[in-house]
Subunit: 121 residues, 2 copies
């Protein structure tokens, strides 16, 4: 279910080390050893993070996990941005409607802009 | 620190009920009671979810928490999309460079493609 993957993706990115790994993989595939280097953590700890990222669909790697490089599946980002954009747009439209109502209220004080009644008549 | 808020925002959205609450608030402010209605959970459980969303900066409400409506702070989404877009773009550019290299390799084998004689010409 998409909903579950979305939960897994958000949860996977709720950790700064895992976000760091994603950032590193955006620049290019890397082995677990290479990924562990900049962090003060063991290869085993990084492997665990990679597993979480893998279960979310964000990172793929072959069976021979210790040697084969990890690869970022960047299209999974679309899942998140689709969700975010939907509600951001909805909230945005609501603010715009509020702005329109406020503008109309201000127009009520000033001369009307209704073309039917025409300012010219 | 931005990094910590990013972790809190991702963690807050890693739960389907909390995402449902955000979706509801995108349509308009709502009280905790109103938010609890569609879910088979107690007002107290929703209050707890609102607290997590609040700590992430996604939802605001006044001191009089039980009665005052919750409000979505949609601009917090920007934090996430900025992070996502940065690494998506980086990965995308890498794929494009790969495509360019592949295209160049193919150009070396096949003759250069001539502009086709289309209907428009």
């Amino acid at each position: 279910m998409v909903d579950d993957q979305l939960s897994r993706v958000f949860a996977a990115l709720a950790d700064p080390t895992r976000r760091g790994i994603v950032a590193r993989l955006a620049a290019g595939d890397a082995t677990v050893g290479e990924l562990a280097e900049p962090y003060d953590v063991s290869v085993q700890a990084v492997s665990k993070h990679i597993k979480v990222l893998g279960e979310a669909g964000l990172v793929s790697r072959t069976r021979d996990a210790q040697r084969r490089p990890c690869h970022l599946e960047a299209e999974v980002f679309d899942l998140m941005t689709k969700w975010i954009d939907r509600y951001r747009r909805q909230a945005q439209e609501r603010y715009e409607r509020l702005d329109a109502v406020l503008a109309e209220m201000q127009d009520g004080v000033r001369p009307t802009r209704n073309p039917q009644q025409g300012e010219a008549s």
